[in-house]
């Protein structure tokens, strides 16, 4: 168990380092000089050079990389060129919107998908199975921004139950803040739930064909208890894999959904930063996203070992 876990952690750290190099390098070759952009088109060469010096842009590449990397490790992500505040402050402010949004969506999609998958698998080949999976197929096919617009039209514009967009901030109280996250999280969660339900069903059906399921039935277990006691845990590995991948997609999905709902989250922050060539913000947010995805993958890998005893002795 220990060796498996420590190896995963080491791999995670190495991936982080590799990602930091890629992120830094890519933004380095992208055209657009931040100093010139900040000062505007009419700035003098001297002013631009002075600002470059002040921002450390004229230092050698490696020096800047290690400076940036050192900053990452100490939580100092630099100052935003456009907002002129520390990037870390921008991120903490925005993550208060994006993280709850992603977590609510994940919880929502899992609570929908697992029971639906179980239901469908236990009634394989029946009309209810076909109907559920047909619905899931539609769910997979619908793009989430279109679905978001539909939700806004029905629940915000017509029924006026929730706001159509914007975020009052957590200071405005728990409920108003949550209320404005309801539609975005549904829009994010539903396509994910549809995929996860299909994966759950097929993973369960695969497992139900195994020999040990027959052994369990020969013990006198009912179909139902075999499903819950023997099949589900074995089917968890593919489900966890998809769940881990989906979290990464959820984070990417927030960029679109936050724009549809005018939510001041990370997605909108990075979108604006890109258009304004605020590279240091982009770098910070992207590294955060990378770190989150790696962390999630690490958690998924570790949970494999919890689910499947065969992996515990491995390295």
């Amino acid at each position: 168990m220990l060796s498996y876990a420590s190896k995963r952690v080491l791999i995670g750290i190495a991936t982080m380092l590799a990602a930091s190099i890629v992120v830094f390098a890519v933004l380095e070759v992208v055209p657009g000089d931040p100093a010139r952009l900040m000062l505007g088109m009419n700035a003098t060469e001297d002013a631009v050079r002075a600002l470059q010096e002040q921002m450390g842009l004229n230092q050698p590449l490696l020096v800047r990389y290690f400076h940036w990397l050192g900053g990452l490790l100490t939580g100092n992500l630099g100052r935003s060129y456009t907002y002129a505040v520390p990037v870390i402050d921008l991120i903490t402010e925005r993550i208060a919107v994006s993280l709850p949004l992603a977590l609510i969506s994940l919880a929502l999609s899992t609570t929908i998908a697992l029971p639906v998958g179980l239901f469908s698998a236990s009634r394989r080949g029946t009309i209810s199975d076909t109907a559920t999976m047909g619905a899931a197929q539609i769910g997979v096919a619908i793009p989430n921004f279109w679905f978001a617009l539909l939700l806004v039209y029905i629940f915000a514009v017509t029924l006026r139950l929730v706001p159509a967009g914007g975020f009052p901030g957590w200071s405005a109280g728990m409920w108003p803040a949550l209320k404005s996250l309801i539609l975005p999280s549904i829009a994010l969660a539903l396509p994910q739930a549809a995929i996860l339900a299909r994966v759950t069903r097929s993973a369960l059906l695969d497992v139900l064909g195994e020999d040990y399921i027959r052994t369990a039935r020969a013990k006198g277990l009912t179909r139902r208890s075999v499903l819950y006691r023997h099949a589900l845990r074995n089917a968890l590995i593919p489900i966890l894999t998809i769940l881990g991948l989906q979290f990464a997609f959820l984070l990417a999905g927030t960029i679109i959904i936050e724009n549809v709902f005018y939510l001041p989250g990370l997605g909108r922050l990075v979108f604006q930063a890109i258009t304004q060539r605020d590279l240091i913000v982009v770098e910070g947010v992207v590294m955060l996203l990378v770190a989150t995805v790696i962390l999630i993958n690490l958690l998924v890998d570790l949970s494999y070992a919890v689910v499947d005893p065969r992996l515990r002795g491995r390295t």
Binding site: Y212, T215, G220, G313
Partner: protein, 540 residues
């Protein structure tokens, strides 16, 4: 009244008829063998009794168990019977246990379900039954997972699950087919003693008459879903009144005729293995502890002459397949030398091996698993031709394929078929055709007939013998089945714990083995003649 009474059982799966008016009765304490080749409906008969048939199966007739009408019983009633009054043991111990649950949990589950006993009582009973099947909790704690056990040990767990509540009827579906002969003897012994202790009825399903001849009181022979022959074991097997029974019995003892024209006295040493060793490095148990090492093959030396047929026998895990893989250069030894015609091959690059590979080919156990299902027979058989130095024209290729197919007894017209369109025996013929197409001097065959039915297996053995005689191909047969070794090999080597512990002419070694490993194999090997002689002796 019989414990289990099957009358006129017919079974259809979809439109396909699987069983036709099958009759079978088992008394308490009786061991009843259900024998037949694959597809004869043995397993479906067993699953009918358990009422665990596939969803589209329709059963007619009567199955009475201990006063219960099985076909009329509700699912809830069947759940009460299964695992309590009827236990079942399956063929494949490697997959019959849930990999994510401990063996204790899996044995205890049935006990708790049927008796509602407390945790402590359940645990005690679990320990008791695991102890009874030969897994004492001091060595095999309840917290072990299936993957930490060997195949034989897993089968013991499956038997513990089936026998935990002392069922009145135990159904064992090919319980030893996946095990080596020594384990097979142990497991059959265990089943037999459990049956006698508890006065259980046992329905023992097998494809091998020799296996059941030893322990079954009575026999039913099934073919294409119909009962061919049934009665008391010794009588059925000594008289062999029914032609099909006779055919099965003969096939299981079949020894191919071998021409002596191409016996190994010609061109000298073909394969030479010198002090070969293969060490596997295990994983570290801790960050700084040393890796465990495992010597799978330990200082093995032997010579194989041109045209010689040699058997390498041993129990599963003795290192025989590892040795075979090194000989065909799929794996490299960690020490020693392997030479073909005095050319060292164990250190050659894959490119340099090409001309060597032409001269040695391989046949594996599973004729289905070793073919790409999306390729036609012609392409599959022609595969090794890429080893030739000059590529063949399409016409030449086809003629080589046709010759190879004809040599193994398949019509060249079948070259456009896919693997699934061939029967199991034909597929093994295809595998052999593929092996001989480059006209090799050596074929390494790893358990080439153990997945086949007895009658097909007899044909394939004939084919091997014939090719040895006609083409002078040398064989190295890897097997745990002494009947195969006896049938077609001149010499035999017994392997145990990675070492060759005994070698000599096949007949001599099998008649009078001197090593412990050799003796264990010979004693455990099912033999129809010996079993019948013993039983007739017992009966007076």
């Amino acid at each position: 009244m019989a414990l289990l009474d099957i009358k006129g059982l017919s079974l259809k799966i979809g439109a396909f008829s699987v069983l036709e008016r099958v009759n079978l009765a088992i008394e308490p304490g009786e061991i009843h063998a259900l024998v037949g080749e694959s597809g004869s409906g043995k397993s479906m008969t067993a699953l009918s009794v358990m009422k665990l048939l596939p969803g589209n199966a329709r059963a007619e007739g009567q199955i009475h168990f201990n006063g219960t009408d099985i076909l009329g019983a509700s699912e809830a009633d069947m759940c009460k019977l299964r695992g309590d009054d009827i236990g079942m043991v399956f063929q494949e111990p490697m997959t019959a246990l849930n990999p994510v649950k401990t063996i204790g949990e899996q044995v205890a589950e049935g006990i708790r379900l049927h008796t509602g006993a407390s945790r402590a009582v359940t645990e005690e009973r679990t320990r008791a039954i695991l102890d009874r099947v030969g897994l004492p909790s001091a060595k095999f704690p309840l917290g072990r997972y299936p993957h930490e056990l060997s195949g034989g040990q897993r089968q013991r767990v499956v038997i513990a699950i089936a026998c935990a509540l002392k069922p009145k009827l135990l159904i064992a579906d090919e319980p030893t087919t996946a095990l080596d002969v020594v384990l097979q003897a142990q497991i059959l012994d265990l089943l037999q003693s459990l049956v006698y202790e508890e006065k259980m009825g046992l329905l023992l399903i097998s494809h091998d008459l020799a296996v059941v001849a030893d322990i079954a009181d009575s026999i039913t022979v099934l073919r294409h879903g119909e009962v061919m022959d049934h009665g008391e074991t010794t009588q059925i097997l000594t008289e062999q009144a029914h032609p099909y029974t006779r055919k099965l019995a003969q096939a299981s003892m079949h020894v191919p005729e071998r021409s002596s024209s191409h016996r190994w006295d010609g061109d000298g040493t073909l394969l030479s293995v010198r002090n070969v060793e293969r060490i596997y490095r295990g994983h570290r148990t801790g960050l700084f502890s040393r890796r465990e090492t495992n010597k799978a093959v330990d200082n093995v030396s032997f010579d194989l002459q041109s045209g010689q047929s040699m058997a390498l026998v041993g129990r599963s895990g003795c290192g025989k397949s590892t040795l075979a893989r090194m000989i065909i250069a799929l794996d490299r030894p960690t020490g020693g030398e392997i030479a073909l015609w005095s050319q060292r091959i164990d250190d050659l690059s894959e490119d340099a091996l090409r001309p060597v590979r032409r001269n040695m080919q391989v046949v594996f156990q599973d004729p289905y698993g070793s073919f790409n299902p999306r390729h036609k027979a012609e392409r599959l058989v022609a595969e090794p031709l890429y080893l030739l130095d000059t590529p063949l024209s399409v016409a030449e290729k086809r003629s080589r394929v046709d010759t190879a197919l004809e040599r193994v007894g398949i019509s060249p017209r079948d070259r456009d078929k896919y693997p699934h369109e061939f029967s199991g025996g034909q597929r093994q013929r295809l595998a052999i055709a593929r092996a001989i197409i480059t006209e090799p001097k050596l074929i390494v065959a790893d358990e080439p007939v153990s997945a086949l039915d007895v009658s097909i297996r007899a044909q394939i053995l004939d084919l091997f013998a014939d090719l040895n005689g006609r083409l002078g191909i040398a064989y190295l047969f890897i097997t745990h089945d002494l009947a195969v070794a006896r049938a077609i090999t001149d010499t035999v080597m017994v392997m145990s714990d990675g070492k060759i512990v005994e070698r000599g002419p096949t007949g001599e070694v099998l008649r009078n083995p001197r090593s412990d490993a050799g003796r264990a194999l010979v004693e455990a090997s099912p033999d129809l003649h010996k079993a019948l002689a013993r039983r007739i002796g017992e009966q007076g």
